[in-house]
Structures are given as structure tokens and as C-alpha cells.
């Protein structure tokens, strides 16, 4: 028998076996189906199972918890800085330590909190919202989390060992170059960047593929929840912007380690090359943090106003145009470096233009509230707090888009006030709102409304107290990143107020955590759809089972649960003895393919350990690039290699 004949005989045998595979359907539904799916989808037991899991809900939870821990750490650093600045001429913290504190604060908040927490929320909720059983590439998703974790540990362990970076969160050359930053502090910063960028890029690919290919049948692009739209835009932005910082920090490491001359003026390099590449990432980064928050706001506004979001197409177009415009703004961070006149005009007008789509979104939310019946529960309060605070931050942004004012206010506390208004007001407020909103989905319990309301008002008022006076400190000329200020310049009062406000904010965040922990054990058991929301994540139990949905839901409107009338249309036919999900077409979301979902695997963890060894040792020797890549290649091959080499009637990923 030739091989071809043997293969054909095998094909026929497998086709017959395929007929016998158990699938969900009218005959296999309800509790019986759920029990079988549970057996197939549950995590392997023990600590190894915990480490090997590829369940997007577990990975999303880990992302969120890790990011919140980093928020707490970054927040503590800010309290230390505020204590130092509470009085003039204070010697509580030395200048060197202060440099480390603001570097660690900024780097932690941007790279270890803000971006990962948004990705974590998305990784948890997007598959549920889209009505699918898993993210695309769940192992890549697990790998992305571990890379993020190791990057964060690198930065913080180094800080605790007193070799934390001290070069500012944007690490400008030549300060961060070999001449002015000997030692390893700058390398640790740069390598932390490499970790977090690999992680963010991997998560971006996971999200793009999930959103484009794994939506429930019938969920055309025009019916997709606005949070999914926001995350699609954000993930595409990550794809185009994060390579920029990975490239420039790679060039910085090589300048420091192997003597390249990218940023060395004496050998025809240019320090401004750093600024261009950094801000080509750094400005879109702001929107990478902000746009998911606008998605949260749309979700909350729709649910709590009990009507579909006003002018859905306008909101989608605003998201897309903000995503595009965000790439045309980076030079406004560089006005003070000296630019051609035409550059000033272009980037000023671009910076003002981006206010238009953002303004459109705000008007759409206001119109939704106007026409709806708003319920001012905690998530909605955060939306209102967001609109007020973000609009103030947006307006101060339009002010500093103007070059003459920017030159005056550059590197002052006015800028610190501005970006905390847009980042905390624009992203953290909606984040806390959405965590309250999805808390029952994640844990099965409700957060306390009373504690939530107290926490919101403390946070909102404390925030204004902490950051509004910074506008005045900045106008009075107080520079950023200087460890103290002299008495008698009128800076005492605004600084004292800011410090008091910062502690109020910290208490409010602490209260949020207390509320979360208390509610986790004592909170009211959440009903299936506690907020009477419209989207599919509420069509399954809270917390969801490992397989998310027993049958794949079908969608025929933007608000499927509001239009469900007591029953949920579903399709059937996915196998129940192995992990399988449904893929649909990109635009129309017609059923396209059945796709096996990978089994839990330790290889993502092993690869991320190999990569971590590679990255960290390459801080110390260029040879690590050679020797470190070999274990990575072996781990990657083992990840890909099937664990059994006999053919199955239907594909499985072991």
C-alpha cells in the first residue's frame, strides 16, 4: 500500500469517526451540556494548571489585579513626592531619590498600570461581549501577561535594590545615554520597555483577531458594542505606535552597551531622534489609554440611561478619527526644542483638531443622557465625574496646543495638572466606573453602593483639590521634576492643597479596594443581569463558566439583550468533548469556520521565562543576544509542536 492509499483510507476512517463526535444541539442542551462543557473546558488541577491556564477570564483577572497593584505602588510614590512638596525647602527626600520617585511613578503608571489594565479588562470582557468562547490565540494571551509581569518585576525589584531608573518616564537622551547615566539604571528602564511592548503588541494582535474573527453570528461591524470598537482602534494604534518606543529604547540600549552612536551628537547622532521616536509612540499612548475609557463611558451611559447610545455611527467615526489624528500630534511635545515655523502651525492645528472627535463623543453621551432616563448609580457617577474633569483637561490641552503658551508653560506644573486631568479624569474615573459595573460579572457579587458613592465623591473632590491648584503653581513658574521650591514665591498654598488632595485621593482609592474586598466575600449575590444591560456578556452566568456560553449566541441588533424577549437565538454544532469555538467573517459575521481552542500549556510561561532571561542578561552583555535566543527558539518550537502526532478526526491543539 502506498502512502497516498494509506492516507486516503485514513481519511475515510476519520470521516466516519467525525460523525460520532458529540455536539451541542436541541438534543444536548441544558444542565447535561453544561456538565460536559465544564469537564472539557475547566482548568487542569493544581499549581501547574494554574500556571498553564489559557482561559481569557483568568488571564484578564490577573492582568487587572497586577495592574491595580502597580497602581497602588505608583500611587505610594506620588504620596512620597507630595509629602516632600508639601512645604518649601523640604529635605525629606534627597534630589537623587526624588528623581527616582518621579521616574518610577511615571513609568509605573504609564507602562505597568494604564495600558495593561485596559488590556486586562478587554481580555476579560471582549470575548463575553462578542459572544464567543475564547480569545484568538489564548496561549499568546497568556504569554503576553507573563511578559508584562516580568517587566514590572524587573523595574520594581531594581528599584528596591536601589538601582531603579532616575531619568524621567521619557528617558530623554543625552541624559539617559552612556555619558550622563553610567551604571545600569537607564538600561533597566529601557529593558522594562522591551518587556511591556512585547506584551502589549501580543495582546493587541490577540484583541484584533478576536474582534475581527470571533464575533457572534450576526454581529456585523455596524452592530458591534462600542467598547469593542474602541479596543479595535486601540489595538491597531498599539500595532503602529509601540514599535517606535521598542525601536528607540533598543537603540538606547545599544548606544549604552555596544557603543552605537544613534544619539551621540559628537558622532553625527542626534538626541532629538530620541524625542521624535519616543513621542511618535508617546502621544498615541495617551489615546491608547483614553479610548478604552471612552468605550467604558459608552457602555455605562447606554445601560444607565436605558437607551441605545445616541448617534452610534458618529461615535465609531470619532473613535477611528481620534486614532488616526493621534499619530499627527507627537511634535506638540517638542515645541520647546525649536522647530520650523510650518511645523509649529501644523502640529498646533492638529492638536486642536483632535478636540473635535472627542467633543463629538461627549455630545453624543450628553444627548444619550438627555434623551434617556439616567440612573445615578456608582458607575454613572464616574461617567459624570469623567465628563466634568476630562473637559477641564481637554480645554487646558487646547490652551497648550498654542505654541507661545506652550513655550511659557513647558515643563511647569501646568502641564502636570493638564495630563493628570486627562489621564485620571479621562481614564481612571471611567475605569473605576467600569470595574464597579463589571465587578458582578467578574466575581458574581455586587459592590456596595454606599461605599462606592462615598468613594466616588472623595475621589472626585480630592482629585480637584490635588490637581486644580497645580495650574496656578505652573502659571507661577513652578518647574516639574525639581525636588523642592523656595519659600516666598506664592507656591506654598497650592502645593499644600495638592498634598492634602493627594491624600484624599489615596484614601478614596483605598476605599475602592476595601469595597472590592468586602464585596468579594460579603457583597449581595449578583442577579444574572444586575444593571439591565443590553450586551451579551450578561447573557451568561456571573461569573461565567470556563466555556462562556453553552450555545453560541446569535445577534440581530446592537442591543441583543434588550431585544431578546425572553429567549436567546443560538447556533449549535460545536463539539463538546474538545475545546472548540466558532469563527465568523470579518464584516458580516457570518459563520465561517469551526476553530479548535488550544489546551492549557506551560510553554507560554516557559517561553516568557526564557525571554526574560534573554532580556535581563542582555542588560549586562551583548552575548546574551546570541545565547539567550537559543532557549527562546527551543521553547517557541515546543509551544508549536503538537503533543501527539497521530491524526484526529477533527483538529485539536494539544
Amino acid at each position: 500500500m502506498t502512502e497516498l492509499e494509506r492516507v486516503r483510507a485514513e481519511d475515510q476512517r476519520l470521516a466516519k469517526e467525525r460523525q460520532r463526535i458529540a455536539r451541542d444541539g436541541p438534543k444536548l442542551t441544558g444542565a447535561k451540556l453544561e456538565a460536559r462543557l465544564e469537564r472539557t473546558w475547566r482548568r487542569p488541577p493544581g499549581i501547574l494548571g494554574w500556571l498553564a491556564t489559557v482561559d481569557h477570564k483568568e488571564i484578564g483577572r490577573r492582568y487587572i489585579i497586577t495592574a491595580l497593584l502597580f497602581l497602588a505602588l505608583g500611587g505610594m510614590l506620588s504620596l512620597a513626592m507630595r509629602l516632600q512638596l508639601a512645604q518649601p525647602d523640604s529635605n525629606l527626600i534627597s534630589p537623587q531619590r526624588y528623581n527616582e520617585l518621579f521616574t518610577m511613578h511615571g513609568s509605573t503608571m504609564m507602562f505597568l498600570f494604564a495600558v495593561p489594565v485596559m488590556e486586562g479588562v478587554a481580555v476579560f470582557i471582549i470575548p463575553l461581549m462578542l459572544g464567543t468562547r475564547s480569545t484568538a490565540f489564548p496561549r499568546l494571551n497568556a504569554f503576553s501577561y507573563y511578559m508584562y509581569l516580568f517587566g514590572g518585576l524587573l523595574l520594581w525589584v531594581a528599584f528596591l535594590l536601589n538601582i531603579g531608573p532616575d531619568i524621567g518616564w521619557f528617558a530623554y537622551t543625552p541624559l539617559s545615554g552612556p555619558q550622563f547615566s553610567p551604571g545600569k539604571r537607564a538600561d533597566i528602564w529601557a529593558q522594562m520597555i522591551t518587556f511591556t511592548e512585547v506584551s502589549a503588541l501580543a495582546a493587541a494582535v490577540v484583541l484584533i483577531c478576536t474582534i475581527l474573527k470571533a464575533r457572534a453570528p450576526g454581529m456585523t461591524l455596524a452592530r458591534m458594542p462600542l467598547f469593542a470598537w474602541a479596543m479595535l482602534v486601540v489595538a491597531v494604534m498599539i500595532v503602529f505606535s509601540m514599535p517606535s518606543i521598542a525601536l528607540c529604547s533598543g537603540m538606547l540600549i545599544s548606544d549604552r552597551l555596544v557603543g552605537t552612536q544613534f544619539y551621540n551628537h559628537y558622532e553625527h547622532g542626534d538626541a532629538l531622534l530620541w524625542q521624535h521616536l519616543f513621542w511618535f509612540f508617546g502621544h498615541p499612548e495617551v489615546y491608547i489609554i483614553f479610548l478604552p475609557a471612552t468605550g467604558f463611558v459608552s457602555v455605562i451611559t447606554e445601560t444607565f440611561c436605558r437607551r441605545p447610545i445616541f448617534a452610534y455611527p458618529v461615535v465609531v467615526l470619532a473613535l477611528i478619527s481620534t486614532g488616526i489624528l493621534a499619530f499627527g500630534l507627537w511634535v506638540h511635545h517638542m515645541f520647546a526644542t525649536g522647530l520650523p515655523r510650518v511645523g509649529y502651525s501644523f502640529y498646533t492645528s492638529a492638536s486642536m483638531t483632535v478636540a473635535i472627535p472627542t467633543g463629538l463623543q461627549i455630545f453624543c453621551w450628553l444627548a444619550t443622557m438627555w434623551d434617556g432616563r439616567p440612573r445615578f448609580q456608582v458607575p454613572m457617577l464616574y461617567v459624570v465625574g469623567f465628563i466634568v474633569t476630562f473637559v477641564i483637561g481637554g480645554l487646558s490641552g487646547v490652551i497648550i496646543a498654542s505654541v507661545p503658551l506652550d513655550l511659557q508653560l513647558h515643563d511647569t506644573y501646568f502641564i502636570v495638572a493638564h495630563f493628570h486631568y486627562v489621564l485620571i479624569g479621562g481614564a481612571v474615573f471611567p475605569l473605576l466606573g467600569i470595574l464597579t459595573y463589571w465587578f458582578p460579572k467578574i466575581t458574581g457579587r455586587m459592590m456596595s453602593e454606599t461605599l462606592g458613592k462615598i468613594g466616588f465623591w472623595m475621589l472626585f473632590l480630592g482629585f480637584q483639590l490635588a490637581f486644580f491648584p497645580m495650574h496656578f503653581a505652573g502659571l507661577l513658574g513652578m518647574p516639574r521634576r525639581v525636588y523642592t521650591y523656595p519659600a516666598g514665591l506664592g507656591l506654598e498654598l497650592p502645593n499644600l492643597l495638592s498634598t492634602i488632595g493627594a491624600f484624599v485621593v489615596a484614601t478614596a482609592v483605598g476605599l475602592f479596594v476595601v469595597n472590592g474586598l468586602y464585596s468579594l466575600y460579603r457583597g449581595a449575590i449578583a442577579p444574572p443581569n444586575p444593571w439591565e444591560a443590553s450586551t451579551l456578556e450578561w447573557a451568561t452566568t456571573s461569573p461565567p463558566p470556563p466555556y462562556n456560553f453553552a450555545h453560541v449566541p446569535v445577534v440581530d441588533s446592537k442591543t441583543p439583550l434588550w431585544d431578546a424577549e425572553g429567549e436567546l437565538p443560538v447556533v449549535t454544532g460545536l463539539r463538546v468533548d474538545e475545546k472548540e469555538t466558532l469563527l465568523t467573517t470579518v464584516v458580516a459575521a457570518s459563520p465561517d469556520l469551526r476553530e479548535p481552542v488550544p489546551a492549557a500549556s506551560l510553554w507560554p510561561l516557559i517561553l516568557s521565562i526564557a525571554v526574560a532571561v534573554f532580556f535581563i542578561s542582555s542588560i549586562f552583555s551583548p552575548w546574551a543576544v546570541l545565547f539567550g535566543s537559543i532557549p527562546c527558539a527551543i521553547a517557541a518550537a515546543a509551544w508549536f509542536w503538537p503533543k501527539e502526532l497521530n491524526r484526529n478526526p477533527e483538529p485539536v491543539i494539544t
Partner: protein
């Protein structure tokens, strides 16, 4: 489920693999291609940014890279598309014996390319430490070399897999098809890189 299911259709007869945009991994690979392409685009931007500061290019005291090895690399990598297309076609036709026979050819070509690349580095007429021009030229060539190297490793692993029984599975054929697509990307990338490294300094 919270709501009672209303059964509207069955997907049991859908395929479990597809070539092209139907495949999930196709989208994943496109995603990584765009990411890597962005790296190249930004490295090119850095190259021109540095070039804009200079009176001459390459800067005084530097010579443009020797053309021989880079051009040879270009010829070989362009010719590699012939077996690449044959493998891609064989994957679509489920001609596993042809895939098994042709993959060593493309792996061999990859090896030859890596050797030529070694000579290329040696003929850049500069070391990465010399000046910013040298650094960026080395960086761009290094970036492209990582693509040759990773694709070579990936192809070797895939070849081993195709030699087993599971090579007959549809999804492995899709893997083969997408591996060929990625190789196209790698050689397409080489054309602008070649022009930049070898010809821009000669303009």
C-alpha cells in the same frame, strides 16, 4: 445560559480550516507583519532623519557598502520565490510529498542567505561604533537578518512536522501556506532595505 435558547441553525458542517483571510492565523501573521513593517518604516525614518543633518551621505570618511554581496543576496532571495510558490501551490493541492521534498530546498536557500549576510556585514565598510550612519545601517541590516533567521528556524520546525503523519492535516497545510506568505513578506522587505542600504548612499 440565562435566557432560554432558541435554536436557529447548526454549524457542525462548517470546515475546520481555510486558506487565506478565513484563517485566524492568517490574521495573526498579518498583524505581526504590520508590526515588523512598522519597525522597518521607523528605522527608515531614523535613517533619513540622520541623513538630513549631513552635507554628504555617507558622511565624510565613510564609503558606501560594497555592492557585490547585497546584490547577490537580492538575486538569491528573489529566486527563492520559485520553490516558495511551488510549496504554496502544493499546500493548496494537499500534495504533501511535494512539500516534503521542496522544503529542504528553501531551508538550504535560507542557509545560503545567512552566509551571504555574513559577508554583507563584512562589506558595509564601517563598524556600528563608527558614527550614527554606521549604526543605523548595521541596525537595519540586523533587523532584516532577524527575519531571515526566525523564518529559517520556523521553516525547519514546520518541515519536521510535515514529515510526520499530521502533515496531511488541513491545518498543517494552512501553516505551510502561511509560512510561504511570510517568506514573501521577508523578501519583499529586502527590496527597500537593499535600495536604502546600498543605493541611497550612492545617489
Amino acid at each position: 445560559m440565562i435566557l432560554e435558547p432558541r435554536f436557529t441553525g447548526d454549524v457542525a458542517d462548517l470546515p475546520t480550516h481555510k486558506f487565506g483571510p478565513g484563517s485566524l492565523t492568517w490574521w495573526g501573521i498579518i498583524g505581526f507583519m504590520v508590526i515588523e513593517g512598522t519597525f522597518f518604516a521607523l528605522a527608515f525614518a531614523a535613517y533619513f532623519f540622520l541623513m538630513g543633518h549631513e552635507q554628504g551621505w555617507p558622511p565624510e570618511a565613510r564609503q558606501a557598502p560594497n555592492l557585490l554581496w547585497g546584490t547577490l543576496f537580492l538575486i538569491v532571495i528573489l529566486l527563492s520565490e520559485i520553490p516558495n510558490t511551488m510549496i504554496k501551490k502544493a499546500a493548496h493541492e494537499r500534495d504533501v510529498p511535494a512539500i516534503r521534498a521542496l522544503m529542504p530546498v528553501i531551508i538550504g536557500i535560507g542557509g545560503v542567505l545567512l552566509i551571504i549576510r555574513g559577508f554583507e556585514f563584512n562589506n558595509l565598510n564601517c563598524r556600528w561604533t563608527d558614527d550614527a550612519y554606521s549604526s543605523i545601517v548595521w541596525a537595519i541590516l540586523f533587523l532584516h537578518t532577524t527575519h531571515i533567521l526566525t523564518d529559517w528556524g520556523d521553516t525547519v520546525v514546520l518541515w519536521f512536522l510535515m514529515m510526520t503523519d499530521v502533515g496531511w492535516e488541513g491545518r498543517r497545510l494552512v501553516d505551510t501556506d502561511e509560512n510561504c506568505m511570510y517568506w514573501r513578506y521577508v523578501w519583499l522587505l529586502w527590496i527597500p532595505v537593499y535600495l536604502l542600504v546600498y543605493w541611497v548612499p550612492r545617489l
